[in-house]
């Protein structure tokens, strides 16, 4: 009796243990299906949607959030979080504008200095988190206020404008081999981050740290150094995003990037990265980013005001996690 009863359950769990089963039941697959449905729908509604021109325009629009979502995925996989990316974004932009316009530096040097500021902001977050043991949520909450405050203080609420043409037209709206520069940068960032996360010792160690930090340390993983690296990476990418954004909109303001941290985290979490750490892929984050952009675009095409996308993204975020939770408990925990 007992054996007969148990059999179907065992089969089910075996199915989910196979490679095919595991990948079919992952959040990435669910997202992929939703995204394909959404894209097909949009393509039937508007024949210009699936053109290279339109698609690369969409990538440029999600560029800033996408660039910052790369390091954020790594950070959340280790069980941390970085709330300060929006503020690092703002501070880098303001520093760029200030050094170029008020301090009279050459723009090339100002760009490098702005990247250094981003690196230093990330380093500050990282060093407090690893050396003093400040929880990442608290540390980056404090620096969210601190970096934004510094941006306000440096700029004194003035904006810089009038950047040279090679910067605004060459970089901000420039093409390389027929595609916007942003498309290339985001492509390179995705490939590098994805390969590092999935195929290197460093990347695999991040999962171990997110699952059990103490065990990871006992296994000989340099936990502190790796953590420092990902927070510095986060600061650098926020800065890079800020420079390209400045080039595109041709001005800097101290409130730039306000609230970006939540957009970035939403995309990463929607992409299946567990907020508790130990789980997630760059591939999932890319899908999360695409789905959010497709939803925004779809609603605009349907004539719904832009604010409705915020409502829909919120609902999709919670639903995606719910469906994933349901599948995990239904098929995995047996």
């Amino acid at each position: 009796m007992q054996a007969v009863k148990e059999q179907p359950e065992q089969q089910k769990s075996r199915f989910s243990e196979t490679r095919l089963g595991r990948s079919l039941l992952s959040q990435e697959t669910i997202l992929l299906i939703i995204t394909i449905i959404a894209i097909t729908f949009l393509a039937t509604q508007n024949e210009r949607f699936l053109t290279l021109r339109n698609l690369s325009r969409e990538v440029v629009l999600l560029f800033e959030v996408a660039v910052m979502a790369m390091p954020m995925t790594l950070i959340i996989i280790t069980g941390g979080i970085d709330l300060s990316v929006g503020s690092i974004f703002g501070l880098s932009a303001v520093v760029l504008g200030f050094l170029w316009q008020d301090a009279g530096w050459a723009l090339e040097v100002a760009i490098v200095a702005s990247l250094v500021v981003g690196l230093m902001c990330g380093f500050l977050n990282g060093i407090f988190i690893v050396r003093l043991g400040v929880p990442p949520l608290i540390m980056t909450l404090a620096t969210l206020a601190l970096f934004r405050g510094m941006a306000l203080g440096v700029s004194e609420a003035r904006s810089a404008r009038g950047f040279p043409e090679w910067f605004t037209d060459g970089i901000g709206r420039g093409d390389f081999l027929g595609l916007p520069l942003q498309v290339w940068i985001i492509g390179i960032a995705v490939v590098i981050t994805g390969v590092v996360l999935a195929r290197t010792t460093f990347g695999r160690s991040l999962y171990a740290m997110g699952n059990n930090e103490l065990a990871a340390r006992f296994a000989g993983i340099p936990v502190q150094r790796y953590k420092l690296v990902i927070y510095v990476y986060s600061g650098f990418m926020a800065s890079l995003a800020a420079i390209l954004f400045t080039a595109r909109v041709t001005t800097t303001r101290s409130d730039m990037g306000t609230g970006y941290e939540l957009d970035v985290i939403a995309a990463v979490v929607l992409g299946g990265t567990s907020i508790f750490g130990g789980l997630g892929t760059i591939w999932g984050t890319v899908l999360g980013l695409i789905l959010i952009q497709v939803l925004k675009n779809g609603l605009l095409l349907a004539g719904v005001r832009g604010d409705a996308t915020s409502v829909l993204i919120g609902i999709v975020l919670i639903l995606a996690i719910l469906i994933n939770n349901f599948i995990q408990t239904r098929f995995r925990s047996v």
């Binding site: 407090f128 003093l132 043991g133 400040v134 929880p135 949520l137 608290i138 540390m139 909450l141 404090a142 620096t143 969210l144 206020a145 601190l146 970096f147 934004r148 405050g149 510094m150 306000l152 203080g153 700029s155 004194e156 609420a157 306000t258 609230g259 939540l262 985290i265 939403a266 979490v269 907020i275 508790f276 005001r305 604010d307 409705a308 996308t309 915020s310 409502v311 829909l312 993204i313 919120g314 609902i315 975020l317 919670i318 996690i321 719910l322 939770n325």
Partner: protein
């Protein structure tokens, strides 16, 4: 043979002195001391700082943040977080304002303008609590989704218009019984009730237990799901009181989400010594934290420091208090291990 008990008793005596000292160094007393020192320093530079009118203004401005921080403290102590409260405050303030204008035009009693926002606030808290407790979605994800929904929904609904011509009876937060602003009374009484409830009621203790060790709490017979539901509903209630104060403090309401409120409230709780890891913290601490977070910018104005650097100093302050708190905790656990 006799030496051993002697040693032990000596060690015990030493430890009790040590623990008495570290007992004095609670986050609350550190905060109170910081408040006194800052006020004293600024008064030397500018004696007007200690004027009764200025003090009551600072307290009045910090009271809605302090009240929201009481709810947030409970949520954080239980091991969760709610980042949607800024949007909820915006929504509830708008509902209150529109209802007040409707009530003035006739149709329903004036009290509806206060009751309905509270009902909506508690219901919203219950919804988040349900997702967290029964559907096991992490609180940060639910409240992130909620933030998005409320923020977008509010703009869709109102288009971000201002609400003018609020009736006089509605402007509750501007009243000053006995010369003290009404919000200050609310802040003080809710803090006292909250502190006593958290310290002595079974539910209050259970919130600490759930936040400290969820599994141990469950095994000792605490219904963890019910506690989490309760915590989020209380948070919804506190947020609606805060929203009513927010809505009634000026003569007009902008029906959009005030930016950065949730961070200000979380900052107040954390500066007040509520550990983000759950299990420790007090309501009195969070209220002192909220006042401190408001005293700093006010003090900077009186000390003629450029307003542009206000937020940077606020960030440094958070960092500093967190470090002091960490240091204190390390000392305590070191003393305990000895």
């Amino acid at each position: 043979m006799t030496a051993i008990p002697q040693k032990t008793s000596q060690a015990l005596a030493n430890r009790s002195i040590g623990s008495r000292l570290s007992g004095l160094l609670t986050q609350e007393s550190v905060l109170a001391l910081a408040l006194v020192i800052i006020s004293f320093a600024v008064t030397i530079v500018n004696p007007n700082f200690l004027a009764a009118r200025n003090i009551s203004d600072i307290l009045s401005n910090s009271s809605y943040i302090a009240i929201a921080a009481i709810g947030m403290s409970l949520v954080i102590i239980s091991g969760n977080i709610d980042i949607s409260i800024g949007s909820l405050i915006g929504l509830l303030a708008t509902i209150a304002g529109r209802l007040a204008i409707g009530a003035e035009a006739g149709g329903y009693p004036e009290i509806f303008a206060f009751i309905i926002p509270i009902v909506v606030g508690v219901a919203s808290g219950a919804l988040i609590g349900f997702f967290v407790a029964y559907l096991h979605v992490p609180a940060i994800v639910v409240s992130l989704g909620m933030l998005s929904v409320l923020k977008g929904g509010l703009i869709l609904w109102t288009g971000g218009e201002w609400i003018y011509n609020l009736p006089e009876w509605f402007k509750f937060a501007q009243q000053r019984p006995l010369g003290i602003p009404a919000p200050v009374y609310l802040m003080i009484s809710l803090t006292i009730i909250g502190a006593i409830w958290m310290k002595y009621s079974a539910t209050g203790r259970a919130i600490y237990a759930v936040g400290g060790n969820r599994e141990a709490a469950r095994l000792s017979g605490i219904s963890e799901k019910r506690i989490i539901m309760t915590v989020f509903m209380i948070n919804g209630f506190m947020v609606s009181i805060a929203a009513l104060l927010f809505a009634t403090q000026f003569n007009a309401i902008q029906s959009t989400v005030p930016s950065g409120l949730e961070l200000l409230v979380i900052t107040s709780a954390v500066v007040g010594g509520v550990s983000i890891l759950g299990g420790t913290g007090t309501v009195i601490g969070s209220t002192l934290g909220a006042v401190l977070v408001h005293v700093i910018p006010a003090a900077m104005i009186f000390a003629s420091i450029s307003d542009y650097w206000r937020q940077a100093v606020q960030g440094l302050l958070i960092l500093f208090t967190v470090l002091v708190d960490l240091y204190r905790r390390n000392q305590q656990s070191y003393a305990r291990r000895k």
